[in-house]
Each structure stands twice: as structure tokens, then as C-alpha cells.
């Protein structure tokens, strides 16, 4: 389900073998075209000769390679082969943005506007899975930029998941349902260094606040219910 969100064009298996052969030719052309660098590479090694270079690399190298990809690209690699299936679950920077994910789809299916609400809820499911399936390694940075309204129980579980994974930088920019209260565990998170919130929500910090490592705090559009809550945060 996770992967449903993205338009990975796995379009080979649909038609017969002849069709596929033609397609492979097309693929070759595409591989060659983007730059001379890749052209050289493809010339040196015939495509499909069975090197299986990537899969035989040690796991730490594969993780290193994933760290240079965007979150979306890193997760897409999970359908490459069994070796890659769960590699992405240890990525340390998660940066998801619903607009960039949808812009491609809009071009493809501009007419089907009525489907968007459902798409969006699937996108939220996707984000949830990315966070909940993350393995035991730490999440360094979590950045979510949505235009979709997120309900508070979801957001609560996301934030808690991030805190559980010792998040260092939390950057949330999303519309929320009213009366959203940030989970208490966020306010006592030791690992947090940067906290950026852009949420139109009433801000009611709990009585006990302890940010031992926090260096940057950005709050935008947040409403403090009264002076008391402001003081609580800054005292």
C-alpha cells in the first residue's frame, strides 16, 4: 500500500513478449539519452549482462547511497528487489510534501479532480506507514509539509513516533483540525535540537516542559490561548 502513492511506471508486464522487446529497446534509448556520462557507462557494459553490482554491496554502503536520495526516491527503491525491500526503513531524513507528490499526478489525470480527497487520505496513510514502519535507528530530521488537513490523532501518533526515534529536527507545516494538542512527550524530548511549527492551532503547552538540547524554535501561526501558556513555554 505504501507504494501506491507514487507513480512508479511498472508498465512492462501488461502485454505480450513482443511488446516487451520493443519496450526494452525504448528503455535502452532512454538510458542512453540523458547525458554523455551515462551514455559512456551503458556502452561499456551491455545492459542486463548480470553484474548485479548494487545488490552485492554491503548494507552500510547501500544505506549511504540511500542517504543521497530524497525520501520519495529512497522509498521507491523498495520494489527493486528483495534486498532493497526494507532498506529504506532506516533512512534518517524524512521529508515529505504532498504538493510535490501530487504535481506529477495532476499532469497525468487533470480531469479527475473528484478523486483527490481519496488520494489525499491515501497519502496520509502512506506517511503513517513510513513513520510507523521505520526501524529502530534514529530519525534525524522529520519534515512534513502538507496542504491536506490532518486529524489530530494521526498527527499525535506521528509526533510520538518521531520522538521515540530521537528526532533532532522536527519541522511541521500543516493545517490541523481545531483543538489539536501537541503530545506531552514532545515537550520533554531530549534529542530535539530544532523545532519548527507552522500550524494554525491553539497552543497549550503542558505544565512540565524540558527541552535539554533545543537550540532553534520557530513558531508560526500558532495561537497562544493566554499569557499563562506563553509564560510556561518561555520561562
Amino acid at each position: 500500500m505504501i507504494l501506491q502513492c507514487f507513480s512508479l511506471q511498472l508498465d512492462i508486464s501488461v502485454k505480450g513478449k513482443k511488446h516487451c522487446k520493443r519496450k526494452q529497446k525504448k528503455v535502452d534509448d532512454n538510458v542512453l539519452s540523458p547525458s554523455s556520462k551515462k551514455q559512456k557507462l551503458s556502452e561499456e557494459h551491455n545492459i542486463g549482462e548480470g553484474i548485479d553490482m548494487m545488490s552485492s554491496l554491503p548494507e552500510n554502503v547501500l544505506h549511504h547511497i540511500l542517504s543521497f536520495l530524497t525520501t520519495k526516491e529512497a522509498i521507491q527503491t523498495s520494489i527493486l528487489s528483495r534486498r532493497w525491500q526494507y532498506l529504506w526503513t532506516s533512512i534518517s531524513n524524512i521529508d515529505l510534501n504532498d504538493m510535490s507528490s501530487w504535481s506529477n499526478r495532476k499532469k497525468d489525470k487533470g480531469k479527475k479532480k473528484d478523486r483527490y480527497p481519496m488520494c489525499r487520505s491515501s497519502f496520509l496513510d502512506f506517511v503513517e506507514r513510513v513513520l510507523l514502519l521505520h526501524d529502530a535507528s534514529d530519525i534525524k530530521r522529520l519534515r512534513l509539509r502538507f496542504t491536506v488537513v490532518v486529524n489530530s490523532s494521526r498527527l499525535n501518533s506521528w509526533t510520538s513516533a518521531a520522538v521515540r526515534h530521537n528526532v533532532e529536527e522536527l519541522d511541521l507545516s500543516l493545517p490541523v483540525q481545531t483543538r489539536f494538542v501537541l503530545p506531552c512527550c514532545l515537550f520533554t524530548c531530549d534529542s530535539l535540537v530544532v523545532l519548527k511549527l507552522f500550524m494554525d492551532c491553539p497552543f497549550n503547552p503542558p505544565i512540565f516542559i524540558h527541552f535539554s538540547n533545543l537550540k532553534t524554535l520557530h513558531l508560526s501561526a500558532v495561537t497562544f490561548s493566554d499569557d499563562n501558556s506563553t509564560q510556561q513555554l518561555f520561562l
Binding site: V31, M53, L57, E73
Partner: protein, 155 residues
């Protein structure tokens, strides 16, 4: 041989027996070698198993350039890096293995970034055919279920 060697030079011996004389500052860009030197368990000749002469020469070339050009403009170094990593897959694989095994951070970074750039923007079957050595037939058989999944997409 060691007597004729300057004090701050080291000899690296590749897996196929070829020897390279390199300045110590260059050799210690490999953390594994650095540890050996620091712990004084390295005699003048340091064996570098699993890395053949060809690859070792490339690694040394890279380290030398990075050592020399510390003061140079970063952009120069970047162009050098991008040209350096522009190699065939087999050489890339050997270089990555060597950089990982000998723990040469700069080289590993440059190589991994290069592989990541190759993956970027490609569809799954491109990557499979190009890097994973999949034959078209394997893709057709092994991914039947995935394809059904992805066909469902958001429609």
C-alpha cells in the same frame, strides 16, 4: 628498501603484489591505515588485501588530489570528483568496496553520491536492468504481484 625511503613515506602493497610509495598524509586518509599507523602496528610496507593494483592506483590518485587541493577552490575539487567517479560499473563497484573496506570517507561519499545520481529520476525497470543485472524475463516473472499492486495506484 625501507632505508632508502623518506621518513614520512609509506609503501602500500596491493593484493596482486604491486607496491606504491605514498606520502603518509595521503595514506592516512584511509581510516583503516590511519589506525594501523597510529597503533604503530604498521611496518613500512602495509598490505592492502582485496584491492588490486589498478584500483589502489585510482584510490591513491583520489587521495592525493584531495590532500593537495585542500587550499584549492571547492568547485575544482567537485569537478575532479565528478570526473573521477565517472567510470564503468565494475570499476565503480571495486572502488566502492575498496573505499568502504579501507574506510576512505571522501571517496565513499563521492562514489555513493554518484550511484544515487544514477538512480535518480529512473523508473524501476531502468534501474533493475541497468544496475541489478536483471534480465527482462526475471522482471516479468518476479514482479507480477508488484505490478498488480502498482496498477491499482490511486485509481
Amino acid at each position: 628498501m625501507s632505508s632508502s625511503l623518506e621518513k614520512n613515506m609509506l609503501i602500500l602493497r596491493s593484493s596482486d603484489g604491486e607496491e606504491f610509495i605514498v606520502p603518509e598524509v595521503v595514506a592516512v586518509m584511509s581510516k583503516a591505515i590511519k589506525n594501523m599507523v597510529e597503533d604503530e602496528c604498521a611496518s613500512n610496507t602495509i598490505p592492502v588485501p582485496n584491492v588490486d593494483a589498478n584500483i589502489l592506483a585510482m584510490v591513491i590518485e583520489f587521495c592525493k588530489k584531495h590532500d593537495e587541493s585542500e587550499a584549492e577552490a571547492a568547485s575544482d575539487l567537485k569537478t575532479f570528483d565528478s570526473e573521477f567517479v565517472n567510470r564503468g560499473q565494475e570499476a565503480l563497484y571495486d572502488l566502492i568496496t575498496a573505499a568502504n573496506f579501507r574506510d576512505v570517507k571522501e571517496l565513499l561519499d563521492a562514489l555513493c553520491q554518484n550511484v544515487a545520481e544514477m538512480i535518480k529520476g529512473k523508473s524501476v525497470h531502468h534501474i533493475r536492468i541497468q544496475f541489478l543485472g536483471y534480465q527482462l524475463f526475471e522482471i516479468l516473472t518476479s514482479n507480477f504481484i508488484w505490478n498488480i499492486w502498482c496498477d491499482r495506484d490511486f485509481d
